[in-house]
């Protein structure tokens, strides 16, 4: 049982849902990222998705892409990110990394998993690694009890969605919209039906991300999801840390997360 499995088992028995913030590692620097994760953990966030910046993101919208560009310009690379995460001894919430397969491949599949585990990382979300191409990496992840979280989208045919669910570990990531990451005013109402259907096909926890940013979204998704993931809305606020006192920005993101947490589990 990985740390993620334990988390969802506990949440399910308590009738609660997971709130998972996404943060770009190293924007504006790794000290800020560490402080932000600590604050969000103090506020009760259950799981962290830590994005490793990549030079050529395809699934990400302008907010996260710009954040990656800022982090890369400061020389942020995977070894330093893992060192920062390994130093977060006071944060008990599990964390997963979100990164391109280009980075994992370059580092070596097994070496990456070994290093990530040593830094206390429980799993990985690899948006450009399709289930057909993931066999070798999935085998390594399984051997190291490291979760490989796969994605299902609104364009995924149902038969394929079932197959993806069977091959995913930790949780299943349901992408709410046909498109890239970024805040939306409204989420398509079909999500509830789609995830409801998926719910009947798998016992795996299902978390919903892409476009989620408002308490209303969270309330809409809570009945069918095991958790929600919020990225761009947080990363957009991080961008302000360049010009404003960092403590203020961290406090404000903490306040924002608290409103979503309240909407999710009330």
């Amino acid at each position: 049982m990985s740390q993620i499995d334990d988390l969802f088992t506990g949440l399910r028995s308590a009738g609660k849902k997971a709130f998972m913030p996404f943060v770009t590692a190293g924007d504006p620097d790794l000290e800020f990222t560490a402080a932000l994760i600590q604050e969000l953990a103090r506020r009760g966030c259950h799981l962290f998705e830590v994005g490793a910046p990549y030079s050529d993101p395809i699934a990400d919208g302008p907010v996260i892409q710009a954040s990656y560009t800022r982090a890369l310009a400061k020389g942020i690379r995977v070894p330093a990110i893992l060192e920062m995460l390994g130093g977060l001894k006071d944060v008990s919430a599990p964390r997963v990394t979100m990164l391109s397969y280009a980075i994992i491949h370059r580092r070596g599949l097994e070496q990456f998993v070994i290093d990530a585990k040593a830094a206390g990382v429980s799993g990985a979300i690899v948006p450009d690694l399709l289930v057909e191409e993931s066999e070798a990496f999935a085998e390594i992840c399984q051997r190291h009890d490291f979760s490989l979280i796969q994605l299902v989208t609104p364009t995924t045919p149902r038969e394929r969605a079932v197959r993806i669910a069977q091959l995913s570990t930790g949780f299943l990531y349901y992408v709410s919209v046909t498109g890239i990451t970024g805040e939306r005013t409204e989420l398509p109402p079909s999500i509830v039906d789609n995830v409801g259907w998926l719910r009947e096909q798998t016992d795996l926890p299902i978390c919903i991300g892409f476009g989620v940013s408002q308490p209303e979204h969270v309330k809409m998704l809570a009945p069918v999801a095991d958790g929600v993931i919020v990225g761009s809305a947080i990363v957009r606020q991080i961008a302000a840390a360049e010009e404003r006192p960092r403590a203020d920005v961290i406090q404000e993101i903490g306040d924002y997360a608290a409103t979503l947490l309240a909407a999710l589990n009330d």
Binding site: I58, D60, Y101, R106, L151
Partner: protein, 405 residues
Amino acid sequence: MNDPSPAATSKTPDERGRFGEFGGRYVPETLTRALDELDAAYREARVDLEFQAELESLLHHYVGRPSPLYHAQRLSEKCGGAQIWLKREDLNHTGAHKINNTLGQALLTVRMGKKRVIAETGAGQHGVATATACARFGLPCVVYMGEEDIRRQAPNVFSMKLLGAEVRPVTTGSRTLRDAINDAMRDWMSSVEDTHYILGSVVGPHPFPMIVRDFQSVIGREARRQSLEQMGRLPNLVVACVGGGSNAAGMFYPFVDDPNVEMVGVEAGGRSGEPGQHASPLTYGSPGVLHGSYSYVMQDDDGQTCDVHSVSAGLDYPGVGPEHSYWKDTGRVHYTSCRDLQALDGFDALASLEGILPALESSHAIAKAMELAAQRPPSDTIVVCLSGRGDKDAAEIARLKQERE
């Protein structure tokens, strides 16, 4: 290497879109359904005689094919060795080989019932060819182009707009082809239900490398036939420039099963072999993942894509088509590179000796062919793919010449 690599075959890719170990699909899940649909539509179209007849008719009456195979006598004399022949893709409608692919993919777009087209472009030739094909079929078209390339290729930007396309400047990263591909893929992520992405080279996720190669293979099929007719035999050597590698793939593929024909791919050697000063992943790079496929790329130790440089906007790309990686590793094609200044010399030679202004991309192949011709006997023949014409590069060449002086 101790173990000899298996010999290359033309029976590529396999069902998973692999050329040997290269290729595949490394894209977000959102795009898989569209890629599956495209694969199925193309496999049907490929054996549909009506589709093939329509494409052939367009290539003949609209593009002006077959393009000539021309014996460049004065250029050959100047080199003092093998005879150089030019496959004149520069004489195609819109001035480059790119039109072969865009007409094929536009026909596929109509066949799949998609209502909108997006594309990316570096030098602008693929953008112009896509805008042309879309105008011909009445499809709305958006072309992504890096700001740096917009500066370098102003005439093509103007042409695209005249043809009714919207040119969207890309302001991220190096503001070149690679960033334009990122933005086009991001657009496709949101519009995949009704939009077809006409990818411009033999790169990207399966089935794109196969589709683009097949549409471009008309170059090599004609060159092969014309060689037999005009020279009475196959050439000893075939040369083409390689950025993403579509003109080269189209030229090489029909010769893969002819063991006596040697092939040379010429990458952009830029200013030097130092990182960031060239765009030669097959010469200096290593296998990795970029833009949806596994192929040779220019990456740093962390897997981040490196900046690259070429005098030619069309070659200024840190990756290459997966089939070229396969041909490299099997030894079927030899890849080398040519520096910016050598390419300029190739341009000057062809202009002054043959009255042909080649594209800067093609000038790389010309320069390398001149070098190779000089090392071979006059009885040898070299066929060079003259992939496009140089009008678009006139301002950039003027600037470079001034810089050189």
